[in-house]
């Protein structure tokens, strides 16, 4: 069995789950592609998953209302053992990357982490991943009775739906009690399209000038293009923008069709979060700024003049 741990939020299957299912299917390994749904109010999600996976395991219990690395580990390990899984695919989200190593250790399985490709070659799994702040592509492989892999969001196309929904099975779990006690939660929210799923991202750096200028220039441009807003760490540290918008090593990784970098120098830590974008546009007054080395279309000039001019042009 290929076990796919479904990611979901706000009562919906996440796009990443469909990407995991594509990865699972393209493997051509024996056994059903099985989606495991963990949570407390997940029947609608399970029904949605049944349109994409060969079978769906539903672990619905109040104990799983909140994600916890140790509960998730216990649940997945139990299901993997009972179902004799040989491959476990997990999303390389923050949570996936935090519990997957525990699952691997407990099952004595190798971990292929944050991978962008995956295929089976005579029983061993071969994968690629980015290293050195996304500057290097590393090829790795593992051979073992059971292997755990986390899959980078956006690396695989979402799976197409099946002709008819598959079967759903309820499963019972023996769960430990969580040792990390959550005492409060702050949720990111935005009215705009989500940064990691957006087709166009308009990102601003320190070159936007001030928090007010960022709002006055970057927001209208993003709205005009139906884009998400991104920011550099310099801008987030200065308090101009929320951390949720940070792109880079310690923020989010994006690979939109178009990434528009405005007043961004192009430090490696920022590039690691966006250098796989299909098309990169940059505006910077410094012709030597490193961002221009990876730019498709760029303008050397002043943000304060150029962004209003671009907006005016877009309205034509």
């Amino acid at each position: 069995m290929i076990l796919v741990v479904a990611e979901h939020a706000n009562g919906k299957l996440a796009k990443s789950t469909l990407e995991l299912l594509t990865a699972a299917r393209s493997l051509n390994r024996a056994g059903d592609v099985t989606a495991l749904i963990l949570g407390s109010d997940i029947l609608a999600i399970a029904a949605e998953a049944a349109r994409f996976a060969d079978q769906v395991l539903v672990a619905q219990t109040p104990a799983l209302a909140q994600y916890d690395p140790e509960l998730w580990t216990a649940a997945i390990v139990q299901i993997a053992r009972e179902g004799e899984a040989h491959t476990i695919l997990i999303g390389a989200s923050r949570s996936g990357r935090e519990y997957s190593p525990r699952v691997a250790i407990r099952l004595d399985a190798p971990l292929l982490e944050d991978i962008i490709s995956l295929h089976d070659e005579a029983g061993s799994l071969h994968a690629q991943r980015y290293t050195y702040l996304a500057r290097v592509t590393e090829s790795i492989s593992a051979k073992a009775p059971i292997i755990v892999a986390t899959i980078k969001p956006g690396a695989f196309a979402p799976a197409a739906s099946l002709p008819s929904p598959s079967e759903q099975w309820d499963v019972d779990l023996n769960l430990p009690t969580a040792r990390l006690k959550v005492t409060g939660k702050t949720t990111e929210s935005t009215d705009r399209v989500s940064l990691t799923e957006a087709d166009i991202v308009v990102s601003g750096g320190r070159g936007a000038g001030t928090a007010e200028a960022f709002t006055a220039l970057i927001e209208p441009l993003a709205d005009r293009l139906g884009a998400a807003i991104g920011a550099t760490r310099a801008v987030v540290d200065a308090g101009w923008r929320p951390y949720a918008e940070q792109v880079g090593q310690t923020g989010k990784t994006v690979q939109p069709s178009v990434y528009i970098a405005i007043g961004i120098s192009g430090a490696v830590q920022h590039l690691s979060g966006m250098n796989k974008s299909k098309l990169i546009v940059a505006i910077n007054r410094d012709a030597e700024a490193p961002i221009f080395k990876i730019t498709d279309y760029g303008i050397v000039g002043d943000v304060q003049q150029l962004v209003p001019a671009i907006l005016a042009e877009l309205k034509k």
Partner: protein
């Protein structure tokens, strides 16, 4: 109590990555302690400055050159270092066995490690070590305090952040925002010379890599590099929009 802070040595951010013979070549490059690990060292020192009675030990597993990064940790204020010397590149799960073994032997109570270091882009070491020790963990930590044996803190999760409490022993992985790492001072550097670095070999830890490394490549996308002069903002804006609309066809 004892705090472990794990140290990796990575390419300086200003350096260009080079690949030779299918592997990243570091021999002639400037290497530094990973910034994410600096956060770990800094946080251990701050926990002590805020009242925890702790011995702080820097742990490094890697080639001889790693001693430079360990010396930086000692100069920042760590008490002693353990250097497991090996030229073998270990994956995170294999490495976690070394760390967990040392943690048991030294009776460590808290392990701080960098989230997503700048070389292997991995986030697995902290959780794998925690699992081997059967300890709990908090990852992507942006704030931390210790009172008695209870940690309180804040960390990033999928959609935002959480505040938490957690009893020792535990593993914490760092994240930007946790603190501003201090620079080693001259007296710190002088004192570091007298501090102990215990050398060990990898043999006794009985580790085997679980993942085989095949090759590393630098694959840069080819970029158009069409850079326009913005002295006439209207003309440049018009040309850019024209390119986006009619050449790349990415906007309407």
């Amino acid at each position: 109590m004892r705090i472990f802070t794990l140290i990796r040595q990575v390419l300086d951010a200003e350096e260009t990555v080079r690949v030779q013979n299918n592997a990243v070549a570091l021999a002639s490059s400037k290497l530094v302690m990973d910034t994410m690990d600096e956060y770990g060292v800094e946080e251990a020192l701050r926990l002590r400055e805020q009242g925890a009675e702790a011995e702080i030990i820097a742990i490094g597993v890697g080639p001889a050159r790693l001693q430079d990064a360990l010396r930086t940790a000692l100069a920042m204020g760590v008490d002693r270092a353990i250097h497991v010397e090996t030229d073998l590149a270990l994956d995170a799960l294999a490495l976690s066995k070394v760390v967990a073994t040392l943690a048991s032997e030294e009776s460590a109570d808290l392990i701080l490690t960098g989230g997503q270091q700048a070389d292997w882009d991995s986030h697995a070491l902290g959780a794998a070590t925690a699992e081997r020790l059967n300890w709990p963990q908090a990852t992507w930590t942006t704030a931390l305090a210790l009172s008695g044996r209870t940690l309180t803190g804040r960390h990033d999760v999928d959609e935002g952040s959480e505040t938490f409490t957690l009893d020792l022993p535990a593993v914490i992985t760092t994240q930007q925002g946790l603190n501003e790492p201090r620079y080693p001072t001259l007296p710190g550097i002088m004192k570091a010379k007298k501090k102990e670095t215990r050398k060990e070999t990898l043999d006794r830890f009985d580790v085997v890599p679980t993942v085989s490394f095949e090759r590393a490549e630098i694959q840069t996308k080819s970029r158009k590099l069409r850079i326009l002069d913005g002295k006439d903002p209207q003309a440049a804006a018009a040309e850019l929009i024209n390119l986006l609309r009619n050449e790349a066809r990415v906007i309407a």
